[in-house]
């Protein structure tokens, strides 16, 4: 049984496309930044901020909020864009990304934007912080978002061992399995497979999903929340640069924005086309 109505899913798709459009305009204006990860995690951010997470944009320090810990800080355009659409700050402010004195630093920094749970950028330490939070307060849920290339870093596996040892049922990890990283495809740079078995052997409950299917995302998170005796990981299979067919699946788009007139037009046209289709 579907937990969610077709109308609701249609609404999510429209919201996700709006967020993708914001992301692309941010990157074009900033003239630097990451394209692939933010676009492929947009559906998950949409599901989290517009359905799953408990938060209040007017009270970012509300003690009872769910915590979202972004470990792969370089995909922050999707975090900023989603937060803007969720009401934390005006959408126009997203155009200050990466600019001097902006609250929207190139990698997230709590000093500039206190609504963030952590500052991040150097890969591999977000999971440890989420594990620390989950140990410190076992009555709240902690969502840690990581990249897949990021899992090359050994610190993740230290954190996974500790999470398994402490049976952190309040920890939900979502891995952006977009299969790319800066130097190439993950399986060429440093093979991660069998990834599901690795997490299972570290005593995680593992759910593998299509990271662009809202029903699967929501079902998976709800299932993860119901597992109380071990931490959960959702391996979200995503398509790098999702939404712009010309960029999709290409590792070259990991760390650059659309910059040539052709690239800018391609990106805008692709998202406008989706908008038309969703009308």
């Amino acid at each position: 049984m579907s937990p969610i109505s077709p109308e609701k899913i249609h609404e999510f798709k429209k919201k996700a496309n709006d967020i993708r459009k914001t992301i692309i305009e941010m990157l074009i204006e900033a003239k630097s930044g990451h394209t692939a990860g933010p676009l492929d995690m947009t559906d998950i951010f949409t599901a989290l901020y517009f359905h799953l997470l408990k938060y209040d944009p007017k009270r970012p320090d509300w003690a009872e909020r769910d915590r979202l810990i972004l470990s792969n800080g370089h995909i922050c355009p999707v975090l900023y864009a989603t937060m803007a659409h969720a009401g934390y700050f005006p959408v126009e402010e997203t155009l200050t990304l990466r600019k001097f004195k902006s609250r929207l630093q190139g990698h997230p920094h709590r000093d500039f934007l206190p609504a963030l749970e952590t500052s991040s950028g150097p890969l591999g330490s977000g999971l440890s912080q989420a594990v620390g939070m989950a140990i410190a307060d076992r009555l709240k849920f902690f969502y840690c978002l990581t990249g897949d290339g990021e899992l090359d870093a050994g610190q993740n596996w230290e954190a996974m061992m500790l999470a398994g040892k402490n049976k952190l049922g309040n920890l939900i990890v979502i891995v952006d399995r977009n299969k790319i990283q800066i130097d190439g495809f993950t399986e060429d740079v440093m093979p991660l497979e069998p990834l599901k078995l690795k997490w299972e052997s570290f005593n995680f409950d593992v759910i593998e999903i299509d990271g662009h299917d809202f029903e699967q995302i929501i079902t998976a998170v709800n299932q993860a929340k119901s597992v109380l005796d071990k931490p959960s990981v959702i391996i979200a299979n995503t398509i790098a640069s999702k939404g712009i067919p010309e960029f999709e699946g290409k590792f070259e788009w990991h760390g650059k924005p659309p910059s040539t007139p052709e690239e800018i037009t391609t990106a805008r046209n692709a998202l406008n086309k989706i908008e038309e289709q969703l009308k």
Partner: protein
């Protein structure tokens, strides 16, 4: 103000890390938010005292120092006051970037106790002798750096650090160290104290020694030796290396116009560097540096190693003479 028996041959000796262990228990008594995390060195860092009394507030991390730092950051984000321990070589050595980003950049009040600092770790050899830790911690914005001179001061520093919102590094030595201070000796983070005044407050001293950690004892002995020779030395115990007690350093430089810094650490980037960074800008005077001269440690007894690497009493004495000649 300091231990009246300090110059006796049978002065009581206690490992500085023991003071940390005792202080952490008191900090835990004072505040339920205090938690302890250790990377498989609970006994030798003396966190075992806390772990035994407050087992539910202790997290055994295994040999995982990077995780140690970042998990502590996460616990601090949820309102805890985490103390993390390992050998200084591994924390803040191995996990420096995690300390910089997840603790200091995030502005989380994690307290990092690095045990077995200095060459006086002895027989374990150079891999285990942290002589770079002051440099790598004091360079990080927001970090407070404390290097207690004995177990009593370590206890006070531990208790005091639990009451601040600052990320803090506390440097601890392994070996038994003479008890220099007493329970009555004042301690305040950021305040240096005069432990020896060769001029006895009557007139100006000839040389100022600024010392930190266990070598404060050797500095005091040198000051006592020269007092008998008619050379007057004022010894400043610089427990807090960051933030510097600038007023105390400035007055000492103005009074003596000759400074010797003494630390069991690389000269590059250490406490002496911090002093010269300040004095060069505000009151330049001749300065001699006692410390390790760009070398790694090796196995040996603490005394053999301190002597070999130029941090023995004879070296401090020579540095005093050199600095007087440069006045």
């Amino acid at each position: 103000m300091i231990n009246p028996n300090i110059f006796n041959n049978d002065v009581e000796q206690v490992p500085i890390r023991k003071g940390f262990g005792e202080g952490l228990v008191i900090a835990g008594d004072n505040d339920i938010r205090v938690v302890g995390l250790c990377a498989d060195l609970t006994d030798s860092t003396m966190m075992s005292l806390f772990a035994k009394k407050y087992s539910h507030r202790f997290v055994e991390m295994g040999v995982a120092e990077q995780n140690l730092a970042s998990v502590a950051s996460g616990m601090a984000a949820m309102g805890k006051i985490p103390f993390i321990t390992s050998y200084a070589m591994f924390s803040p050595g191995r996990n420096w970037e995690q300390i910089r980003t997840t603790i200091c950049y995030n502005n989380r009040p994690v307290k990092i106790a690095g045990s077995h600092a200095g060459v006086s770790v002895g027989p374990d050899g150079g891999t285990h002798q942290a002589i770079e830790d002051i440099a790598i911690t004091r360079v990080i914005p927001r970090m407070v750096v404390i290097s207690p001179c004995d177990a009593i001061e370590a206890r006070k520093a531990t208790i005091a650090s639990a009451k601040t919102d600052s990320p803090t590094y506390i440097r601890l030595a392994r070996e038994k160290t003479p008890i220099i201070t007493t329970n009555a000796t004042s301690f305040e983070i950021g305040k240096a104290q005069v432990f020896f005044d060769g001029a006895e407050g009557k007139n100006k001293n000839d040389v100022g020694i600024i010392a930190t950690g266990a070598l404060v004892y050797r500095a005091l002995k040198v000051a006592q030796f020269y007092k008998e020779q008619g050379i007057k030395i004022k010894v400043l115990n610089l427990a807090t290396i960051k933030p510097l007690d600038e007023q105390a350093i400035l007055s000492l430089a103005q009074e003596t116009k000759a400074i010797v810094t003494v630390e069991e650490h690389q000269i590059a980037g250490g406490m002496g560097s911090a002093i010269s960074e300040y004095l060069a800008q505000h009151y330049p005077v001749p300065q001699e540096f006692i410390g390790v001269k760009d070398l790694f440690g090796q196995s040996g007894t603490p005394d053999e190693l301190l002597e070999y690497y130029g941090m023995g009493e004879s070296h401090i004495k020579m540095a005093v003479k050199r600095v007087i000649l440069r006045k």
